[in-house]
Amino acid sequence: MRKTIGVAALALALTAGLACGASAQSHLRIGLAEDPDVLDPTLARTYVGRIVFSSICDKLFDIDEKLSIVPQLALGHETSADGRTVTIKLRPNVKFHDGEALTAEAAKYSLDRHLTMKGSFRRPEIASVDSVEVVDPLTIKLNLKAPFSPLLAQLTDRAGMMVSPKAAEAAGDKFGLKPVCAGPFKFVERVQQDRIVVEKFADYWNKDNVFVDKVTFLPIVDSTVRLANLRSGGLDMIERVLATDIKTVRDSPKLKLISAVELGYFGITMNLNNGPKANTPFGKDARVRRAFELSLDRDAINQVVFNGEFVPGNQWINPTNPYYQQAFPIPKRDIAKAKALLKEAGVSGPLTLDFMVPNGPETRAVAEVVQSMAAEAGFDLKIRVTEFATSLKQAEDGEFQLFLIGWSGRSDPDGNSFAFQTCGAPQNNGKFCDKEVDAAHAEARAKSNLADRKKAYETVAARFLPNGTVVYLYHRRVLVALSDKVDGYKQMPDGLIRVVGVKLK
């Protein structure tokens, strides 16, 4: 018995004596909502991975708060009059983490790697590039197969990340285990599902604006626990705060909340032409789908589920985006009109629809609100909560009539629309196909100025919004909570966390 007491006393003493020692180095700890995938810019594909990349891998270009494209590792670019060549001047005196210089050769290597590596997820993004030429030691020229205006936007993301040719050549497809890029921080270690540690790169081209010595990324999946870590001082900032936790953050004097409207959207994909499940009045008659949209009150969804913190929307870009089509405002809820449309289409009695919803507390809540709203117009939605991986496969196979799904968003509107709206495109799960929409998208890709492109997208909106496969519902907010020790943080609309310029008090 005495021994037991002794052990208990020892345990108590240990617990009481445990305290984390503060280090003199400034160390920023960031809580992520998921564990990132492989840290190879060519092979990576998750949103959370992009957050880590923004600390270790600089890109040719970046975006600013207004979504304008600004130079990063490039100094500038020039597109030829016919839009078929893009010449990019590189920033001089840029070094990779292994000391190698960023030359035109290295830039060509990185782009060629994106274009040719087996399993490269970047290839479809920059498939318009036919070849990369070295013009002089600091200039490259991209020869395009056809004019492609979203190209520069692609180079603000992973496709524009430059890797050290020496390290990439040595590591092959294992490069992601120890990435060597030209970003403000260099990779130190990664413990799978536990942490990713990076430290300040002494030879960074913009080192005067880096005020943090070390950054640790900690994936903490549970949002309550993530927030608890921030509140207890175990973390300095967290991403993807729940809309329902906003009040807790605002009420805490030691925390700050920073937000921006996301580039992506949440919406309902409808099955028009994918397998036997499309063979219903809903899949075949646009009036029935219009009736469904008219039964929804987007503002109420936002109020009920997200305390009004998100932004209701009806297009693939949010209402603050320069490409938003003002001529197509958010339709008001109109049950009478919805019922009339259903009657016109010859639908009598409640129309039963299979509503696939990926599992999650927020998605389930949205689905239930949609269900009760649509019921008033005469739709009987059968919510089928499905595990995420399964839902992707079933969407592909046409095993749905309605599918609640989001898109994380890209800075160019093309990235939010082309793959969903054109005939046979990979994300077009409801199989919408309209030659005019395809032609308008091709036009938007070929034109480079905003007015011309916006005009092309107007055609898309006119055809796709009333007849298409997606009812866009809302745009989430990028919600980042910070401890009051963190200063100088700026949120860009892409949701990524940029540590350059951040100071720790």
Binding site: A8, L14, L177, V191, Q193, A228, L392, K393, P426
Partner: protein
Amino acid sequence: MLAFLTQRVLQIIPTLILVSMLIFGLQQLLPGDPALIMAGEERDPQVLEEIREQYRLNEPIPIQYLYWMKGVLSGNLGESMRLKSSVASLVAEKLPVTLQLAGMAILVALGIGIPAGIVSAVKKDTAWDYGANIFALWGISTPNFWLGILMIFLFSVTLGWLPASGYVRLGEDWRASLATTVMPAFVLGNAIAAILMRHTRSAMLQAMSADYVRTARAKGLYERRVVLKHALRNAMTPVITLGALEFGTLLSGAVLTEQIFTIPGFGKLIVDAVFNRDYAVVQGVVLVTATTYIVLNLLADIAYVLVNPRLRG
């Protein structure tokens, strides 16, 4: 003894083959397409096809199985599709974490469960007994994730004594390591303590009414000596067996607790792998834990035979 050992070791081989087929077969039943989930938002048909080719997802399942077995037999557990690192290195990275957490949890369980069981048996039908029983009922019926979150709020957010989550390796800083694991170990140990307490109590009650205990008392021994030396020793056998079994279960990873406290052990590894349809990781981890379990079982059998010669033959 040698014949017994040979026989038992030989029995392991068909068991392991069966286990490996089960693991492989069962996860093929999971709906979803590994290439599609791996591609995530970047679904390009050509890239998807390359992934399927690279990981032999287009081959018939028996062929995929044979490829996997060929690798396993030559010591290669395969490669994680999601992380591009070898499954063996992932397992090696997680094993010490899981061992530490399981070890601490079982210590908590024994430290609480056995004394509570003894007290409630010795002081049967008193307030002590009721108190211990209420504790056991609470321990069994409180969900791990709930207790975990409550503890985080109390000890990390409100009192600020312990880090809310995360993990530090023992070798790196043992004090910080204990600080990060003490709460999850308590959460895990607490549930097991309740079970151990109930078993200790009933075994003790049985022992306390045995003849040898009456004899010991008749000899005029102190009650404490009777309880701890004569009754407890005899009552411990089923409790130790149970404890060993629970330890085995802990080794396969504590899914919810690891998720709440962000402990990077087997539980988190396997959950992420299942959600991402990272087949090689699921197969590797399950195979390793199944093998550990079987080996532990074998060791237990050998121990029984050593202790009890009547089992030989």
